[in-house]
């Protein structure tokens, strides 16, 4: 333990005295989180100028689907495709193939008919409507791809609502007219040409009440995370900063390899694992400080600049699990880089560039939901993508620990993979007399 503390103390002391390194580790992600969040906060609100594809899932097959499709397609910028089932359609929305999914649930027509019969009775009887709310469970759901702007959402929802109302009114009118003719036939059969008590003029539409079918924008399901700019950028850039630990960490290992310190350490009565663990803990503590700083900026500084405050939530254990996994992955990658790079310059070039690429793929710079389909698939191979997904599940969906286990395991697996490769590299160098 004394040896471990000595190593941690030494590493922290060296880092503390490396002011430029600290600047990279703390100031860079802090500036990035401020700038990117402020930029995206506005950009997200302005998005929306493109052609739109909508997937319509008509589970009821009652004709309403075709009616809605016709109404929507009357706009030249909207293309409606019919989907087989809502899960598949949602997958296609998530992949970016469609911008929205409209679901007409099974039984809609049946429920509607019941409501219409009731309404037509009211209209014909002149009674006050008994209900002014829609029939429970009769609704049409709309799911939007998160990158879809507010204007488009309103337009689509409005158009669907209009189509539904038109269809509902048309159906209602048919029902009322049918009832009228039935009544008239009944009266004529009874020998009365004009039956007193029956108003043969057009029905009073004010008695129809609110539409029976509601058009409801539904919440996104698990699998697609739609954070605000703040909830997206604070964990994203904090993680980006954490991964930048590879630069000083790899540099520290390379210096030790190159100046004989590693050789001196390898003949100490201390296992190399202890030396490495000490190093990982020291750099891990720095990563924790980075995370704390970025979260604090998101919580207290960003709101002063007009954004929402970062909401940390209460899933402390879950956050700890993801955070520790991210730190393990980042520091282990630094160890790998420091072990395989042949020079400090090599590590200095490759380290940051690889982190920037992994960050871009992983959705740090542009949220995954706003990426094209291919890039969304690629985001699944980025450790930064795993970390970000884990964080977003917590900070957007308030997910519990079991929901982020997959991401944590992937990150830890990546960490073990890096450490394993680093060990192999070191052994190879030792066999070759280079360490």
């Amino acid at each position: 333990m004394v040896k471990l503390i000595a190593i941690i103390n030494k590493e922290l002391l060296i880092l503390w005295r490396d002011r430029v390194g600290l600047l990279i580790l703390f100031v860079m992600p802090a500036v990035l989180v401020l700038v990117i969040t402020l930029v995206q906060d506005n950009t997200q609100k302005l998005m929306g100028d493109r052609n739109w594809r909508i997937c319509l899932v008509d589970e009821d097959q009652s004709g309403l689907g075709d009616y809605i499709a016709d109404v929507l397609q009357s706009s030249s910028r909207i293309i409606v495709n019919h989907g087989n089932n809502r899960e598949q359609a949602w997958e296609e929305v998530k992949s970016g193939e469609f911008q929205a999914e409209i679901i007409i649930f099974k039984g809609t027509l049946e429920k509607l008919r019941k409501g219409l019969r009731h309404k037509s009775r009211i209209i014909l009887s002149g009674e006050k409507p008994e209900f002014s709310v829609p029939i429970a469970g009769t609704e049409i759901g709309i799911l939007f791809e998160p990158s879809v702007g507010g204007g488009f959402r309103s337009a689509i929802t409005g158009n669907v609502r209009l189509a539904v109302m038109g269809w509902e009114t048309e159906t209602l009118m048919r029902e009322v007219v049918k009832k009228l003719f039935e009544l008239r036939a009944q009266r004529v059969g009874e020998g009365a040409w004009v039956t007193p008590g029956i108003d043969m003029s057009l029905p009073d539409l004010s008695k129809i009440g609110v539409p029976l079918i509601q058009v409801v924008e539904q919440k996104q399901g698990i699998g697609l995370l739609m954070p605000t700019a703040v909830q997206q950028n604070v964990p994203a850039w904090a993680m980006f900063g954490i991964f930048f630990i590879v630069v000083p960490l790899a540099g520290s290992l390379l210096r030790e390899r190159q100046n004989g310190t590693l050789a001196r350490m390898l003949v100490l009565p201390v296992s190399y694992s202890v030396l490495l663990i000490g190093k990982l803990i020291a750099f891990g503590l720095v990563c924790l400080c980075q995370f704390g700083l970025i979260v604090a900026l998101g919580r207290w500084l960003l709101p002063l600049m007009g954004t929402d405050p970062f909401v940390f939530g209460e899933q402390y254990l879950t956050i700890s699990v993801v955070l520790i996994s991210v730190i393990c992955a980042a520091t282990s990658y630094g160890v790998l880089l420091g072990s395989v790079a042949k020079s400090y310059e090599q590590a200095l070039m490759f380290g940051p560039i690889s982190v920037v690429i992994a960050a871009a793929i992983g959705g740090v710079m542009v949220p995954v939901y706003a990426m094209p389909p291919l890039m969304r698939e690629l985001s699944n191979i980025s450790p930064l993508g795993w970390g970000l997904k884990g964080f977003l599940k917590i900070f957007v969906q308030n997910a519990e620990i079991n929901c982020v286990l997959a991401e944590a395991l992937l990150l830890l697996g990546f960490a073990f993979f890096c450490l394993g490769l680093a060990r192999l590299s070191l052994e190879r160098q030792m066999r070759a007399g280079m360490a």
Partner: protein
Amino acid sequence: MYHNSEIILKVAGLTKNYPGHTTPALQGLDLEIRRGEILGLLGPNGAGKTTAVSMMSTLLVPSSGSVKICNCDTSDRSKVRKIRRQIGLIPQDIALYQQLSARENLEFWGSLYGLQGKEKKKRIDFCLDFVGLTKKSDERTAFFSGGMKRRLNIAAALMHQPLLLYLDEPTVGIDTQSRSMILERLSRLRSQGAAMVYTTHYMEEVEELCDRVMILDQGTVIADGAPADLVRTHQCGNLQELYLSLTGRQLRD
């Protein structure tokens, strides 16, 4: 007091074949070093000196042969830590942390050798004084001169009072004063019973310091004995002449 008959290091048939190389870097090295004895290991670049030191200091696993330190075989993994407590390695490079002060460097290395509290502080003070750096103890190593860094490099290997020291060209690139001090301090350590394996390209250092000299070339020993005896036997004027006559004058890159 110590018995100078006590064998500290015993090497038998030490051989190293590096992967991808057709000829061994070191072949069949045999040697013994007793307490208070300094062995000078000479040879041109690529002769196998560093490979020999690396294997003798447990850094490198031999292809064949054995290394025994204080009667413990280095191939016995259960005894490696015990063996490592007895050895000190002074690499050719300045194996120190430039951002730390002299004292902080010694604190770090001392801690890794298991020193704590007053004992550690006592050893730090002793080592700083031993290499003449007490007044500079709180200055960062980065601001030290080459000679000061070399002296601190030695001090770091002395923290745990090793019985056996491996010194790989410890006086490269320093001024005459620092070199003189280092040689004087090493002589003092010898008188206290430390055994040393000393590699260098400076023949006058070997003549001044070493009890025995071993000249390596292309992985094999080509001369072994006391410097004066070797010079006399080979009828040379001095060690430098002997060395060049044995290893040739052609450049070794």
